[in-house]
């Protein structure tokens, strides 16, 4: 038996060696017109010639970022598909303070370009991307959270070929009690701020929307509006003084309202109430360009059964009205024949009984000779998000502050051109643009 096996093995080796596979070396194929500089495996079909060349290989970008708009990299040769990266596992979430949860996971892939981390608030929330990391990263710190709140996380790896499946979900609840002096995290040490000083915000957003409160530009609270779009949120344990508060909401599709701001002077030990807040409706269009005579959908969310006015800016302003449904969704089908060719803008505001909201953000569209269905407006800020984390906050501010009155690097100059005023400098005008898109 053993002899038979040995014989078979020898036979296989000899047979394999006899297959006419020849790996050619550089410059084996040449002509007066081209030279193949990379190895090509050919299976006994002869040498390639210049009069009829055959492509045995292919050119490809072996990894994301190998070729960029400022640096062209070419790597040809043995062509291979990366394949989807492996799913990361072992995702763990650990709350370390009232506002911070640390994530860790096991990187199971060797070909990922990075990881995409998603979060939802509460088990019934909706996942949204909160961060994207580079490759070979196995930890992330989520540090702008609300106290006493359960957060759920999942992540997936990605590369040029696509995304892996999602990891298993993991959750943690941020600490709710103020930490004792010297312990806990985020706010430990020193005297606690005077108790009893607080401010309550009440108003109307969109059904089941997440409402964020900013205090002096930083997130101070987060709550979810009810099915009737009503919300109430309290910011407490703060000292007396003059504060700038901002409130914005995100509807169930992920579109954000403009931030409504308030200047409030808080008295020590007293609770101030700011009520009657009515956030402007969200607004978007289904096309970036519409063929004149066709219909363009203008839509968004507001309070249930609100009367929504849509103002279209043209040579003259056109005022249209449409009601929101019981879920707060509204839609107006605008006949583009009513306006001339060219660029136009639309904004909206809502009325519920005697309450009138502020104006929404302005969306632009073009009336031309064809319909162009644009990508849905990104949920991320259009500009000023310098680190591409879908927020405009202190991190972006600090990045810009680093470059303030410095010569920009080539890489950052591209970012400045794309996301700020594009004049090749970081100046106060760039910070003004950032302040407009501020999300906290």
């Amino acid at each position: 038996m053993r002899n038979v096996l040995t014989a078979l093995l020898i036979a296989a080796l000899v047979t394999g060696a006899a297959i006419p596979v020849r790996v050619s070396r550089a410059t084996d194929y040449s002509s007066s017109h081209f030279i193949i500089k990379d190895p090509v495996v050919e299976f006994g079909s002869g040498f390639g010639t210049s009069s009829g060349f055959q492509l045995w290989g292919a050119l490809g970008q072996p990894s994301i970022g190998f070729t960029t708009t400022t640096a062209f990299g070419l790597q040809s040769g043995f062509f291979y598909f990366l394949g989807l990266p492996a799913v990361p596992d072992g995702l763990g979430a650990s709350a370390v303070s009232q506002t911070q949860i640390n994530l860790s996971w096991t990187d199971r892939s060797g070909n990922e370009a990075g990881f995409s981390i998603e979060r939802k608030t509460g088990s019934g929330g909706t996942y949204a991307v909160i961060a994207t990391t580079t490759s070979n990263v196995a930890a992330y710190s989520d540090s702008t959270l609300s106290a006493g709140t359960a957060y759920y996380y999942r992540l997936r790896s990605f590369n040029i070929d696509g995304f892996s499946s999602y990891s298993a979900e993991s959750s943690a609840t941020t600490q709710s009690a103020p930490p004792p002096p010297g312990g806990g995290g985020g706010g430990g040490g020193g005297l606690p701020p005077p108790s009893g000083t607080s401010v309550i915000f009440r108003g109307r957003a969109y059904p089941a929307s997440y409402v964020t409160v900013l205090k002096d530009g930083q997130i101070a609270g987060l709550t979810k509006a009810g099915p009737d779009a009503m919300f109430e949120i309290t910011v407490s344990s703060i000292s007396a003084g003059i504060y700038s508060f901002g409130i914005w909401a995100e509807d169930i599709k992920g579109y954000r309202s403009p931030t409504q701001t308030f200047i409030t002077s808080l008295v020590s030990g007293a609770t101030s109430v700011i009520s009657g807040i009515f956030l402007a409706p969200t607004i978007a269009t289904d096309k970036t360009e519409v063929k004149r005579g066709n219909v363009i959908d203008i839509f968004g969310y507001s309070a249930p059964l609100a009367n929504v006015s849509v103002i279209i800016s043209s040579d003259e302003e056109l005022l249209k009205k449409t009601p929101a449904d019981t879920a707060g969704a509204w839609l107006y089908k605008f006949d583009s024949f009513e306006v001339s060719y060219g660029d136009h803008a639309a904004r909206s505001r809502s009325v519920v009984v005697n309450d009138i909201s502020d104006f929404s953000k302005t969306v632009t569209f073009q009336v031309g000779t064809r319909d162009v269905y644009g990508q849905p407006p990104t949920k991320c800020p259009k500009r000023a998000d310098l680190n591409a984390d879908c927020k405009v906050n202190l991190v972006d501010f600090s990045i810009a502050a680093y470059w303030y009155k410095r010569a920009l690097s080539a890489a950052f100059a591209l970012i400045e051109k794309d996301r700020l005023n594009g004049d090749g400098l970081i100046n106060l005008q760039d910070f003004s643009i950032m302040a407009y898109y501020w999300t906290g």
Binding site: S141, L191, L386, N387, L394, A411, N421, F431
Partner: protein
């Protein structure tokens, strides 16, 4: 003829008046910077606090400029930002020779009409009329385009005399530390060539934040018994982290102008490997020592037994 002339003049006056108060004119209302102070005189050697304000600020989200002063007559000693309407300072307010430089933002725009930006304490240096003036003023609209607004600045004249004028700066009765704030650790290619850094910004409604300090410590030990050493040093956001492996607890404290401190910290992003933890080595050492003690004691007992005559065992 005379009546017609009067009619034409009256018509012209009415037209000019209408244009002056027209909505178009109101929309280009300039942002006005001005000074506020309790008195306009001070003696040589006396100190006086001068506040810098601005008005027509509705929907303004960024502003900046320079306050110039004659140092030989009145010299600025320090700057205070307590109760400023500016949430984040891009630059300053800081003293630079004969100037105070300032630039800052109010995210999402200011909701009021006027507000205080900062104050500076001036000391009388020489007799004369010290004129405080504004230069290079800027203000931008919260419209997403960074639209520059027209600006103007009203100067202030301080009469500095050899005789005392009773000017004094109230002692800062501030016993409240800066408000709790958060730290964010980020690693971005755009800053410090991809190295990790920490960002922070505290608010102090009384005397204003004066400066920040940072300390990074690797904590060694077991469970809640962890210790680490590290020194505090001055910091500015964004602050490059010394421990790029992110295994240290990062602590930042904000100190206000009255010296009150508020410290916050963020736990390490990554845990120490067992061989990096001194606590683990102490435990191993303890284990080895105990093992050696037990073994030695057993050997000694055996030796004693061997040496003891059978009849005595």
């Amino acid at each position: 003829m005379c009546n017609r002339f009067i009619f034409i003049v009256a018509l012209a006056v009415v037209c000019i008046g209408v244009v002056s108060v027209s909505p178009a004119a109101a929309q280009t209302q300039s942002v006005e910077f001005f000074f506020k102070t309790s008195q306009a005189q001070l003696g040589v050697g006396e100190s006086l606090e001068v506040e810098v304000w601005a008005k027509n600020l509705r929907r303004i989200n960024a502003l900046g400029g320079i306050v110039r002063f004659p140092t030989e007559l009145a010299a600025a000693q320090n700057v205070r930002t307590g109760d400023s309407i500016v949430n984040f300072w891009v630059d300053g307010p800081r003293l630079d020779g004969d100037a105070v430089i300032f630039a800052g933002i109010i995210p999402n725009g200011f909701a009021g009409e006027e507000g205080k930006l900062f104050s500076a304490v001036f000391e009388g240096a020489g007799a004369g009329e010290a004129v405080l003036s504004f230069e290079n003023l800027e203000a931008f609209l919260n419209d997403g385009q960074g639209t520059a607004m027209p600006v103007s600045g009203a100067p202030l004249t301080l009469a500095v005399t050899l005789q005392p004028q009773g000017a004094a700066v109230p002692v800062l009765a501030d016993a409240i530390p800066p408000q709790p704030f958060e730290l964010s650790v980020a690693c971005a290619q755009e800053v410090y060539e991809g190295k990790c850094f920490v960002v922070f910004a505290a608010q102090d409604k009384e005397s204003g934040v004066d400066h920040y300090e940072i300390r990074e410590r690797r904590l060694h030990g077991l469970g809640v018994l962890k210790i680490g050493v590290g020194k505090w040093y001055r910091a500015q956001s964004p602050q490059l982290l010394r421990d790029q492996q992110l295994k240290s607890r990062v602590e930042v404290r904000a100190i206000d102008a009255a010296g009150n401190k508020r410290a916050v910290f963020i736990e390490p992003m990554r845990a120490l490997a067992w061989y990096e933890d001194i606590g683990a080595w102490l435990l191993i050492t303890l284990g080895i020592v105990l093992f050696v003690v037990v073994v030695v004691s057993r050997i000694r007992r055996k030796i004693v037994r061997i040496g003891t005559p059978r009849s005595d065992r």
